[in-house]
Symmetry: C2
DNA sequence: CCGCTAACATAGCGCCGTTAGGTTAGCGAG
DNA sequence: CTCGCTAACCTAACGGCGCTATGTTAGCGG
């Protein structure tokens, strides 16, 4: 009780919440942790101790609202996850053409990832053991983003514009845009060509890969409209 | 010197290296660390202390051969990086057709990633600040894998089979295969369709996206052989 | 006014990466 | 054959981490 009490820390002497207002701390924690994550751009900077300091509280108090650190991290990133879905959805609404819809969604997806690299990395580039199950499964399937992609793909297939199984095609397109996004995030010092050019290349070429009306060259196994890509071919 | 000396640890009482044989420890460290990484499948299990214990040495001795932990981790993964390049190169040699070459390379790439998920994750899915510059730049550009991909793409373009700028097309194809690889690694609990089917979909459709001889449907801006994809189109 | 409990804090455990500074052992010089 | 030099290690510890068991305080209901 004597000395050492001079906590010249960051936070402005937070006043204890009133009875029944315990949830206020949760919001303050999320706010401070989000700031830490985006300002440092480094997940590791979001330590329980740093967040507690920023909020003006002691580390154990964090655990009154989050089971562990990972839950806090994903509570932050869940908001970005939702915004990603929203952004792609809104972008897709920019056209009536089902194919152009997909392209618009893809471009918006990549751009969002590049604008929020660390949340994107947490959400989509982490090791599985550090990713809560919902963020591997339901959250994705039920997200407006993925659902909208599958919908747009299905529409395009039904309209005779795309070819293949909706789920397989959606995953393929997702792979392409996620691949570019994640590479741009983890290898910023790679000698990338003009970023917009790369984004255009990936989104346009990817959709072109499943667009109908393609006749391959003489040596390349020609594929008619009869033989679809619904079922995978053997092994080769 | 009295008690506490009973180190019932893992290693079998390593004998000190002779003069001039200090490099022996480096190999033993790499060996033990590699085992730890692949057996646990978790980079975090490769702690300096765990490696030291496994080798039968004290933690500071690690720093005689590696500047920091990251250098150790990437020394491990560099071998996998080389093997990835080798694997894709050998796979590509399985065909004379430049397009089929690319497909074979892509399939080998994905398979290698799935067989070595944690090394792949370290090499290609880490945050940039934790990835040494060579692994963002030179190592990739000069790797047999990437070089071979660019070569195969260039050959195919020159043969009139593919369309576009070699570097942009190579990056596009890399994005597709890396995208699927990384998603399969970080979201193993996602309800993926049959894995081989997804791999076929991605590799086949991706290459199809840049294959010549494509005529889009009526509404989709038709593109002749004159208008190439060399330069990126405006904004949309 | 008082006690109950929500809303915190104190203190500390075991882990981590890393470092400063000792110790030991083998080889070459004399 | 010894002796010193230095390569090849070790001891001890620092500061930071996630997390927990346990203590304290403050405000509202009775």
């Amino acid at each position: 009780m004597t000395a050492k009490s001079i906590k010249n820390r960051d936070a402005p002497r937070r006043t204890r919440a009133r009875r029944g207002e315990g949830e206020r701390l949760r919001e303050q924690i999320l706010e401070a942790a989000t700031r830490l994550l985006v300002e440092t751009g480094d997940e590791d900077a979001v330590s329980i101790r740093a967040v507690a300091d920023a909020v003006g509280v002691t580390p154990p108090s964090i655990y009154l609202h989050f089971a562990d650190k990972n839950e806090l991290i994903f509570a932050i990133c869940e908001r970005y996850f939702d915004r990603l879905g929203q952004a792609t959805m809104e972008a897709g609404a920019g056209s009536e053409d089902p194919i152009e819809r997909v392209v618009l969604q893809g471009r918006a997806y990549i751009r969002f990832g590049l604008e929020n690299p660390e949340p994107y990395r947490v959400l989509f580039m982490r090791k599985a053991s550090a990713t809560p199950l919902p963020f591997q499964y339901e959250k994705i399937l039920e997200s407006s983003g993925f659902a909208n992609l599958v919908q747009a793909v299905s529409d395009a297939i039904e309209a005779g514009r795309l070819d293949g199984d909706p789920m397989l095609v959606a995953i393929y397109l997702w792979s392409a845009v996620h691949g570019l996004t994640s590479l741009l995030i983890s290898k910023p010092d790679f000698p990338w060509p003009d970023k917009d050019a790369v984004i255009e290349q990936v989104t346009r070429s990817a959709i072109r890969g499943v667009t109908v009306g393609v006749n391959l060259g003489p040596e390349g196994r020609p594929r008619g409209k009869g033989e679809s890509t619904r079922r995978a071919r053997g092994s080769i």
